[in-house]
């Protein structure tokens, strides 16, 4: 029954190998040879074409076509062009980038060097979140090794191509994972996302053309260079022939399984594995022999899948068919049947109230008021009307209703709308039971002060 019987993990191939993080180990597994071959034989445009035709979609959450993103850079730009590698992984439940950086940093570096060559970037910044000191050390050591081996610096292997890679440390702010927030932060400013257009490819960091890619995307680029397009496209879910806008979901994916499973961890599987398969085949089942109540398909901002939706393929389109925002970061969080859905939504609202950057009023106010309402409901002063108010907040904040600059508010709104739609009975029962005399009230009530954010 294991869908991965014939599937060989490649992104995680270093896991379990002694000193798998060293340059010697990486070379012994075939690493860096593809880069050297590309530098000697292919033009940057050919490398762009290679990644474009592989069908690789960005692994950071939005799933945009990586090769297509690169083609948006202006042609014949005098430079400099920058590559920003997004290692600000902060979506609750997500840790695949951490695993890649700690266990196999050279795989990430090779992908970065290939991507920089393709995009003609001469400087790459890895924006690494503060919370990953071990990743910092692993990457810095790998960068030092790569310089020593002549894989970084001036005129790499006589190709005429030069590249420097620098680590840049974040300061614990979720919004820095939004690509223009990341750019602003890198420039030394508050991480307020920019209005687009212009997109970063035209005017990004330091007002120069910029590509922002995720760490796992970089690792995929390295594997595509090593194993080829056919290998990559043989894995995953092909494009729907009846939908010309579906670019398909190709390649291996790192799924982060956490929450109420026996064996939480980062598992590599073909795109399109189902949550049920992940839980049963990799996770050792739901912990303590309990039942699944709901599963987050890809980080908390994606919303929830219910137990009867667990056979949905976790590719770029699957979660959307059951009312989730998308695949997101493929961080699968399992919630067992003892958890109150009110507590879940409170946790979600608290996260977004804390992480809203405050630039757009609908998000700053919407995330904070939804948290205040959840605080009040949990304090036994909820009213049935609050559920409609919460949904109204969810409907009005975000890029989709057009009221915010970035997608943070959409991610905040989705769990609200999605969980109230799917678990309305439970919310109503909770409110009726905890506020038996006042649940039908409709008059305005004062909000409780927030006590749990700081």
């Amino acid at each position: 029954m294991k869908p991965s019987d014939t599937f060989q993990p490649v992104l995680l191939e270093a896991a379990g190998i002694k000193d798998g993080f060293s340059i010697e180990s990486y070379r012994s597994r075939g690493g860096y040879a593809p880069l050297e071959k590309l530098l000697a034989e292919k033009e940057p445009a050919e490398v762009v074409e290679l990644v474009k035709s592989s069908g690789l979609r960005g692994r950071g959450g939005a799933g945009f076509m990586t090769g297509l993103k690169w083609t948006f850079l202006p042609k014949d730009h005098p430079g400099p062009i920058y590559l920003c590698v997004n290692a600000d992984e902060s979506e609750p439940g997500t840790f695949n980038n951490r695993i890649l950086m700690e266990d196999d940093p050279h795989q990430v570096l090779e992908g970065i060097i290939i991507s920089a060559y393709a995009t003609r970037a001469s400087t790459a910044y890895i924006y690494l979140r503060y919370e990953y000191p071990k990743s910092w050390d692993a990457l810095q050591k790998a960068i030092d090794e790569a310089y020593e081996a002549g894989l970084l610096g001036d005129n790499i292997h006589g190709s005429g191509f030069s590249l420097d890679i620098y680590l840049h440390r974040g300061a614990a702010a979720y919004i820095c994972g939004e690509e223009t927030g990341l750019i602003e932060s890198l420039e030394g400013k508050r991480a307020w996302p920019r209005i687009k257009p212009p997109f970063p490819a035209i005017e990004g960091v330091f007002r120069k053309p910029t590509v922002v890619n995720n760490i796992e995307t970089m690792a995929c680029v390295a594997q595509i260079a090593r194993r080829g397009i056919e290998w990559f496209r043989s894995i995953g879910i092909p494009a729907d022939p009846n939908n010309p806008r579906d670019p398909g979901s190709y390649g291996p994916k790192l799924y982060c399984l956490s929450g109420h499973v026996e064996k939480p961890g980062c598992y590599e599987a073909p795109l399109g594995i189902t949550a049920r398969e992940l839980i049963d085949c990799f996770g050792g089942g739901v912990w303590k022999g309990r039942q699944v109540k709901a599963v987050i398909p890809g980080g908390i901002s994606m919303g929830l899948m219910t137990e009867d939706e667990l056979d949905t393929p976790l590719d770029f389109t699957g979660p959307g068919t059951v009312g989730c925002l998308g695949l997101g970061t493929a961080a699968v969080v399992v919630i067992d049947d003892t958890v109150s859905i009110v507590d879940f939504l409170h946790n979600s609202c608290r996260f977004f109230a804390h992480e809203s950057c405050g630039q757009c009023t609908p998000c700053r106010e919407g995330t904070n008021w939804s948290l205040r309402m959840l605080e009040r409901i949990r304090a036994g002063k909820g009213r049935l009307r609050d559920l409609d108010l919460l949904v109204e907040i969810g409907d009005t904040m975000g890029m989709m209703p057009g009221s915010t600059i970035c997608g943070l508010a959409d991610g905040a709104a989705w769990p609200i709308k999605n969980s109230i739609t799917k678990f309305r009975d439970e919310f109503e029962n909770y409110i009726k039971q905890t506020n038996p005399t006042g649940y039908m009230e409709t008059d305005p009530v004062p909000a409780l002060p927030i006590v749990t954010t700081h």
């Binding site: 439940g93 840790f95 951490r98 400013k189």
Partner: protein, 165 residues
């Protein structure tokens, strides 16, 4: 006007200046500079903000603007000798993260976000630390504490010199 350097040491300045060639603008050194000062002093006092601004050819308000956006940086007083981030996001919360946070705070007699009066430890709730495979978890200094229980939390407090109150 001559401002005597009082907060930034020669070493800090040298370390900040050593990074200058990495970026085309001086303003990009703001976060690295704040980190260098914060790592040593456990806070970035206003005087240091003025000195950083001078070093980077910025207005102090520009540095302060960036500093205050990231709630990470302390300003009016240093955080404790150990700064412990206890994760409360969903994966950790599902496995008892908030109970661990409360337990730790109760043991040393502070509220989440506070520092013990002797300055030994600051305990802060954190949003996802990206170690959900080891939930509930805590980052203290550079050390990730995995699969926390009350017993492990107590052992941690002992190791940093905080006996039970």
């Amino acid at each position: 006007m001559i401002v005597n350097r009082r907060i930034l040491t020669d070493d800090m300045v040298a370390r900040i200046e050593a990074l200058a060639s990495r970026y085309p603008t001086k303003q990009a050194l703001t976060l690295p500079a704040l980190h260098i000062v914060h790592d040593e002093l456990r806070h970035v006092p206003l005087e240091a903000v003025v000195e950083i601004a001078k070093l980077l050819d910025l207005a102090p308000a520009e540095v302060q603007d960036t500093l205050t956006f990231y709630q990470f940086f302390y300003q009016t007083k240093p955080h404790g000798k150990v700064r412990a981030f206890v994760c409360r996001s969903i994966s950790c919360a599902l496995r008892g993260g908030e109970q661990v946070l409360d337990h730790l705070c109760e043991k040393v007699g502070i509220k989440p976000g506070e520092t013990t009066p002797d300055g030994t430890i600051t305990i802060e709730p954190a949003e996802c630390l990206g170690a959900c495979d080891f939930a509930p978890c805590m980052l203290a200094g550079n050390d990730l504490h995995k699969d926390l229980t009350r017993e492990k939390a107590d052992a941690f407090l002992n190791s940093v010199g905080r006996q039970n109150e």
